[in-house]
Amino acid sequence: MSATVYLSEDYRDCLQEVTNIAMGQAADRLARLLDTFVVLSIPHIEILSPADIAMALHSIDNSASVSGVCQGFIGGGIAGEAIILFNDTSFADLARLLNYEGELDRQAERELLMDTTNVLFGACLRGIAEQIDITFSFGPPMVLGQHQRLDELFNPRSATWQQALVTEINYKLEGYNVNCDLLLILSEDSIDRLCKKLDYLLA
């Protein structure tokens, strides 16, 4: 495997476009499901090292107001993990958003985090998958740092990869105190396969 992954301008533009279209579709689906307007940032695409990703995860350990949920996916030789970081998100608002009735204990909070992740992430990845003609299998979402400290969960020094392709999208929901960042992380060995898929669109 090459020491540095290089993503050409063409591929980056193409992936940006694919993600933009997917996010547009996702926003539309989410608006219908959640009955609120979803404000999405323009996806930001870059190649990151394990240390960069560890730093992003670090914010969960260090701040009581940040929670994180991860969810793995795989299909057609492309594998990755989505991590959603909820910044100062109000659980009461999440409950209102998902029409959750019942007491908001810790278990309910966890369920809200997982459901929101599944909904936001599913909506976005589905659009991407359709365009590059892949169907993904999804693992169940997991709340980060619940059973293990994050530095035990992911140690950048022992990572077997050097680079990953990360797409970052910020979500805000109108009228709700919900603000989160979605990191869509594709493993190093998936990038080649993704580029091959993008070739069909570029051709």
Binding site: R32, Q107, R110, M114, D115, F138, P140, H147
Partner: protein, 320 residues
């Protein structure tokens, strides 16, 4: 029959065999929540054959299934065409089934993870829902046992084995914590340090087992007389320490005096011997003149020393 149709029938047969025999629960529901597929796993675990389940509403079959919650989950499946998940940690089970191993399994019911998938027809419309039910009892019980073991270890590492009072290390953490709180908020806070008078004589006369019983007895009487906010620890062999939060020296003296008289009035029955004993107590109220936690203990220790010197079985407040 054409050979193509025969092949198709054959294939259909073994596919159905797989669906029915796979050790995972498979349920297909239409949008009215009527059961359309009910595989062998579901039949066996629910004790409901296909004939009883098919075409019935899942909510009629399983009244324990929380309907509002389930419908909300399904909404994201039908609107987003997106799989939804439930894990045993959110909800131990969707269907209340018996544990597979009724004898050696140590869970009463089956822990389940579930995946809810949209099924679309030839036109891409989602008009059925597939429920996949995984038995994760093994994983769940292992994790729960680990959590329990960790909680036990946590308890053991904090307490003294003989008395179940806080051990010295943990108690000293509380002491430092209260000291810091005082520096910030200046709420009154007092410390009682006490030990058993002539403990060595008890050991020499009745043996160490008797000594242990006296220590346990002291801890019991101590705990009986304290409020929830007070922090009692076993400081050394026959030495005990109590932090009294929001209590000045006069208040601590009332507590100490009550403890002293309670111990004096009680006796320990050990192998047909009635052992009577007393305690001596020193008190130090925290003041700005006390500059660190060690000095706080030393101050209370001086009170204790004076109580001993004055003839034991008494309380002395030491003022810095």
């Amino acid at each position: 029959m054409t050979s193509g149709a025969k092949d198709f029938l054959n294939e259909f047969h073994w596919l159905m065999d797989v669906l029915h025999n796979i050790d995972v629960g498979l349920v297909v529901l239409d949008l009215e929540m009527r059961v359309k597929l009910w595989n062998g796993f579901m039949q066996n675990h629910s004790a409901r054959p296909s004939a009883d389940a098919l075409e019935h509403s899942i909510f009629d079959l399983f009244p324990e299934l929380p309907e509002a919650w389930f419908r909300r989950k399904l909404q994201s499946v039908t609107v987003l065409h997106n799989a939804a998940f439930t894990t045993w940690e959110q909800r131990p089970y969707l269907f209340r089934f018996k544990n597979y191993r009724v004898v050696t399994g140590n869970a009463e019911y089956m822990y389940q993870n579930c995946t809810i998938l949209p099924l679309s027809d030839a036109n891409g419309e989602v008009n059925h829902i597939c429920l996949i039910v995984y038995d994760v009892t093994e994983v769940a019980t292992n994790r729960l046992q680990l959590q329990k073991a960790n909680a036990q270890l946590h308890h053991i590492s904090r307490t003294d084995g003989l008395t179940s009072l806080l051990n010295r290390k943990t108690w000293e953490q509380s002491l430092r914590h209260e000291f810091k709180r005082f520096q910030r908020y200046h709420h009154a806070c007092s410390l009682i340090l006490f030990d058993i008078d002539h403990f060595k004589l008890i050991n020499d006369n009745y043996g160490h087992t008797a000594g242990d019983e006296v220590i346990r007895h002291t801890a019991r009487i101590l705990l009986d007389g304290l409020r929830d906010s007070d922090v009692a620890g076993r400081y050394g062999g026959e030495e005990f320490a109590v932090i009294l939060v929001d209590t000045d020296a006069a208040g601590a003296k009332v507590v100490a005096e009550r403890l002293r008289t309670n111990i004096e009035a009680s006796s320990v029955l050990f192998e047909r011997h009635l052992i009577n004993y007393t305690i001596s107590l020193g008190i130090a109220e925290l003041s700005p003149r006390i500059t660190d936690p060690t000095m706080w203990i030393d101050t209370a220790d001086r009170g204790l020393y004076n109580a001993k010197r004055a003839g034991r079985n008494q309380v002395v407040v030491y003022h810095t």
